[in-house]
């Protein structure tokens, strides 16, 4: 099985923006690039893990509706971060692991992009010192 983030696109993007505020500036091709990277990473993982990730995103969206009366996508990034921070600091390992997994996927998708590497000033080059001198 290979998971498609299409079924949870809005809450997933809302979570990405909470984890990496700059991702809000991505255009549609940029988002697709990010999501393809995440989908590729998930495809290498067991089906059960893929399903858990999708389920977690849905639960977070539901939690946002219950606590704030709106889905994740309608909350401010700060409100989303507040939810995630609470879960990240939870006494329940399962919740902490879930947030850690989501943030890892968001970072993978965003920071694997060549544009991002350039934007943060990462300049590693196979030519090494020669490329800098």
């Amino acid at each position: 099985m290979s998971v498609s983030l299409g079924v949870v696109r809005d809450p997933f993007r809302a979570l990405c923006i909470a984890f990496v505020p700059e991702s809000a500036e991505l255009n549609e091709p940029g988002w697709r690039e990010l999501e393809c990277e995440v989908e590729r990473a998930l495809a290498d993982r067991p089906t059960s893990m893929q399903k858990q990730m999708v389920l977690l995103i849905r639960i977070l969206d539901l939690l946002a509706r219950v606590r704030h009366g709106n889905p994740l996508a309608a909350l401010t990034p700060a409100a989303r971060r507040e939810i995630l921070t609470r879960l990240q600091d939870s006494r329940w390992l399962l919740l902490r692991r879930g947030v850690w997994g989501l943030r890892t996927l968001a970072f993978l998708g965003y920071y694997s992009r060549p544009d991002t590497a350039a934007s943060i000033g990462y300049r590693a080059d196979a030519r090494g010192w020669e490329a800098r001198r």
Binding site: V20, A106, L108, R123
Partner: protein
């Protein structure tokens, strides 16, 4: 199922398997067939692009993020021609005498290990980098240590023709790192050893290995296997398992050896680690030059080692605590970041082990002991002191609350950093020094093999990799793995008359 006859089958081509392949190569001159099965692919030189996500996928198991059963630790280990020697930084240290003595394995002494390590160090061009090839990230570590009265030591590294790409952990794009993929395996192949890539050992039977050869997926890096895709039964007089501290015990457990060897899979250690970053006011050279030139060894005194390091954008982001604007601000400071890796010297304890599920899936169980948490906290304090002494204005410390420390707080580190802040599942921890699972020792009751990698009670089955370690090594393990693998090969050669005639 395809059937193949061989004299020796070696499973794995990393520091262990590659070393054994070279040592057994003389057998081929006598008409013996020596095979190496490697699960990963062999990449062409031009496929080492240094692009983080694609190289991680091509060279590592689970892209370098193999999750433990608890989901609180990721393990990075190579799955390619050359195993983890293709993706490490080439640091080449000889094990401390006290560690080998502490292992208390009969017929294993430090002098023998050190002698073999020196031989491999010479073979693999191990040397100290000259001063003009050391970047600011490393210089600042050495400077910070000196300013607080400590002496950082320089890592000997196995480089030949290093251009300073800084991309060691993504496979050297300049073929300058002298791992088994560049030295031992090519020598073995030239002598007549056959290395079969994309060949996964599924299980071991009586003097036989069942393996599956796969074809490359669409767009996947690496050459096709020399063998046609399909399942193979490879019959051999001797089988040497060198699949690493996760792969070797898992394969043996999957093959039913757990009934004979009650200690199989136990004693897993891994030097759990995380990174700290220090932010400087000016740009420094960090993503150019060899990433790991210095270390501070506090293993004996305080149970940790600090090493210089420099990772790539995603790995860096993943290893920093938290998320949101503070995390982003730190990532945007990348050209001004100094980085230190802190590693805890964990001990083999009950429960930390490798197992397989009923369906044969590999599982690694790992709990952080109170001693490991304390070591990581002490290491964090020390690393923060070094950063500030080197001139950093801010330090990101995973066990500080909040994690960002300013220079004004440099005298409050003991109060601000605490093991109580270590929260599994929140604190990002990873490990790349994977050890144990098929420990050496005296009897089947206390170990899996003797001091020469002979599996207790199974004369045709040998082990030759880091799974042999009875406990943590407390330093980077690659040369010690080669030394132990060399001993495994030597014992096999000594026993060859019996093995091949039976």
């Amino acid at each position: 199922m395809n059937r193949i006859q061989a004299d020796v089958v070696i499973i794995g081509s990393g520091a262990g398997g590659g070393t054994i392949a070279q040592a057994l190569a003389p057998l081929t001159a006598d008409g013996r067939k020596v095979l190496v099965l490697e699960q990963g692919a062999r990449l062409r030189d031009d496929e080492y692009t240094g692009v983080e996500s694609e190289m991680a996928r091509a060279l590592y198991e689970d892209s370098g993020g193999f999750l433990t059963e608890q989901g609180t630790l990721t393990l990075a280990f190579g799955r390619t021609y050359g195993g983890s020697t293709a993706v490490y930084t080439g640091t080449s240290l000889i094990a401390p005498e006290r560690v080998i003595r502490g292992w208390d394995v009969p017929d294993l002494d430090h002098d023998d290990i050190a002698r073999r390590c020196r031989n491999f160090a010479a073979q693999n061009h191990v040397h100290l980098l000259p001063d003009d090839e050391i970047n600011d990230n490393n210089r600042l570590f050495e400077l910070g240590c000196r300013r607080i009265g400590l002496e950082a030591e320089q890592f000997p590294v196995n480089l030949n023709g290093c251009r300073g790409s800084s991309l060691c952990n993504l496979g050297c794009p300049n073929a300058a790192k002298m791992g088994t993929d560049r030295v031992q395996l090519p020598a073995a192949e030239t002598a007549g050893v056959e290395v079969v890539t994309r060949a996964e050992a599924l299980r071991i039977e009586e003097r036989a290995v069942i393996a599956r050869v796969s074809r490359p997926l669409d767009g996947e890096k690496g050459l096709p296997s020399a063998w046609e895709p399909g399942e193979y039964r490879i019959e051999a007089s001797a089988v040497v398992v060198a699949g690493g501290a996760v792969g070797s015990p898992a394969l043996l457990l999957r093959s039913g050896f757990g009934r004979l060897l009650p200690r199989l899979g136990e004693g897993f250690t891994c030097h759990p680690a995380f990174i700290l970053v220090g932010e400087h006011e000016e740009r420094i050279t960090n993503d150019v030059g060899h990433p790991k030139s210095f270390y501070l060894d506090r293993a004996q005194e305080e149970g940790y080692v600090l090493e210089t390091c420099m990772y790539f954008p995603f790995i860096t982001a993943k290893n920093l605590t938290g998320f949101g604007p503070d995390h982003s601000a730190l990532m945007k400071a990348f050209p001004r970041l100094q980085m230190i890796l802190v590693l805890a010297c964990d001990r083999a304890v009950p429960g930390n082990r490798v197992s397989v599920s009923g369906k044969g899936v590999t599982r690694v169980h790992y709990e952080f002991t109170p001693e490991v948490r304390s070591s990581l906290a002490r290491a964090t304090v020390m690393a923060a002191r070094i950063f500030f002494a080197a001139g950093a204005v801010r330090v990101h410390a995973p066990l500080a609350s909040p994690p960002l420390l300013t220079r004004g707080q440099a005298d409050q580190l003991d109060q601000r950093i605490s093991a109580d802040e270590f929260l599994p599942g929140r604190t990002s921890v990873s490990a790349a020094h994977l050890m144990g699972g098929c420990a050496m020792g005296r009897t089947p009751e206390d170990s899996v093999t003797d001091a020469w990698g002979r599996v207790h009670g199974v004369p045709w089955l040998r082990i030759g990799d880091s799974s042999l370690f009875p406990d943590s090594l407390e330093i980077n393990p690659y040369l010690t793995i080669m030394a132990l693998a060399d001993r495994t090969a030597e014992a096999l050669m000594a026993d060859s008359a019996d093995l091949f005639d039976s």
